[in-house]
Subunit: 404 residues, 2 copies
Amino acid sequence: MALVVQKYGGTSVGTTDRIKNVAKRIIKTYDAGNDLIVVVSAMSGETNKLVALANEICDIPDGREYDVLVATGEQVTIGLLAMCLKSMGYKAKSYQGWQVPIITDSSCTKARIESIDDKNIRADLKEGTIVILAGFQGIDSANNVTTLGRGGSDTSAVAIAAALKADVCEIYTDVDGVYTTDPNVCKEARKMEKISYDEMLELASLGAKVLQIRSVEFAKKYNVDVHVRSSLNENTGTMVTREDKDMEGILVSGVAYDKNEAKIAVMGVLDKPGIAARILTALSDANISVDMIVQNVSSAGMTDFTFTVTKSDLKQAQIITNEVAKEIHAKEVVCDENISKISIVGLGMRSHAGVATRMFTALAQNGINIQMISTSEIKISVVIDEKYTELAVRLMHETFGLAG
Amino acid sequence: MALVVQKYGGTSVGTTDRIKNVAKRIIKTYDAGNDLIVVVSAMSGETNKLVALANEICDIPDGREYDVLVATGEQVTIGLLAMCLKSMGYKAKSYQGWQVPIITDSSCTKARIESIDDKNIRADLKEGTIVILAGFQGIDSANNVTTLGRGGSDTSAVAIAAALKADVCEIYTDVDGVYTTDPNVCKEARKMEKISYDEMLELASLGAKVLQIRSVEFAKKYNVDVHVRSSLNENTGTMVTREDKDMEGILVSGVAYDKNEAKIAVMGVLDKPGIAARILTALSDANISVDMIVQNVSSAGMTDFTFTVTKSDLKQAQIITNEVAKEIHAKEVVCDENISKISIVGLGMRSHAGVATRMFTALAQNGINIQMISTSEIKISVVIDEKYTELAVRLMHETFGLAG
């Protein structure tokens, strides 16, 4: 007998028929003799509907009330799923965040879980009750409802698994697991059997949107094995877990791409301290996140300063950058939307030299110019012309032998 | 400066534009120097949508989970209304039932309020915050979400007004107040300036669906003045309040009708103890409510036993009654759907004789046969052929001079 946490996303519970299917899957696990905590998201589309209502009311909804509003999505699902299980003759009980309670900080719309009281849930499990928990939500110390940000149900699942020391945390989604790259781009893409937390973090932040980043951080911190698998079949998925010796031998485990960024280059800037900070401060004041940042070596006391933002922020970022550029007497500001970011991720990079060389050579041999480079301990990202995205992904997949 | 409780029903908050209008009305009251608690219902149609989802899942949804589900309707409204007020520059804060907390018994789907802790709300009011409270919901002593039954937001409003000793409880609805009868049936119908709790109770239970019955009981118990008025204009509505000397002088204050009942007559029953109980027990076991009950005097040891049920229960009630009738050797069971109940209500009946006579005479003079009669201290109800409903209502209105 094991304690299993299962999480079902919005698509898996998108209709009442699908909720009935999820109930059947839950019962299978329960009847096999397991204790079971099930975390669910809002029915697909519901959160968007609620957000749309808020936007009809005002441009910038108050955070506390926004959370009160959007937390209803998950509440609907837990009520429906619990009544479904009960109608099938099983003991089940729904929990909202405040009923556990799941205590978070007070950062509305993107709260962080601080602690989970497991007393109530343990008592229910002991009585053979299937616990159905609303994902994405908690309360702060002043009894305000908080939410954990988009995809927060993944984090709820991992956090409850950590708090109750579950044997496994299964994340059910509409894909079979984590792939070496996007199967839509590269036919040879292969489902990984397992992947380390760090690699998953890099892949998640690079656009492989299988798990919320924070859930992986949580899993890493508390050593929770996360099994990403499909709710549509019984196949084994991908285990996100602590690294082992096998993993270290692999140079590159995955290739990610992101077409959602744009490049802004501030050309002809005087190379003196404080210039970069000035530009970045102006952007962060406007709540614009900057991803890659590159500054070339100085030539004749002048330098170029280049960075990327998400495409939806480009217009505003351009206006702000132009203003600052004028103040600091930069020569010009050049923007480019037609870029994409290609990243390779692998634990083996730590100990093996030459990975970057192999990457850059393969791209050069195929006439793909590299516009920006950024590296971390286990990741190399390059910005290239958007039209080469798919070609570059397939090249990397082949170069590093990911088809297996 | 007064403490005002305002309650807005589903129609008044049915769209985001209407919520904005409600916000403006709230601000007007607040800016006039009042402390303000606002109770809201779910946006019109929302509760029905949620109930439909539950019915898709199973035939008889579990009560606890049903309440978790339907309580989301009001939660959506409080979030939207509070963020609307904040975006207009006012201090506002939403409250769910558990955040107050409003403690109820554990009768899911029809819970009764047991106590209200006013500490949190008082602290907010003291700081000049407009309190926005989800109607219809509470929690029981085990932290389960409960709901108060259809129309329960009225009760929430009256209860919070009682707990905080508010100066007035305003119930905003889509009608101008309480009328002497249905204006659609009788053009002379007149809006009443005030009406006693007891009269309102009789009128509410007789089909004048302006206020939930339980809210009136609550108002009576705690002496809360309830002002029923329109959210579409600034007109004074009807004050539901404790009786005074003026009221006692009025023989009949209102005329109600109900076309939603059906009659079942068990003919030729042996007149001995326990027969009526046997029929009624069988019905209540099947959760069927019986309204009027009449038993004629015995003739040759035999009697007829007649009662009414709501039309939607007729089929099932008929099957059950037929079974019992067989067991007790009744002669036959006769059903009639084409009936309606006409009622006159007035405090003056207590002290003035002859009201029934005037009612029956007026009906007889117009060829309307009375099939059943039932009376209370301040009410006389008769069952007549459905086709005479409107005529009978107008007759009563005229007979007792209600046009004023």
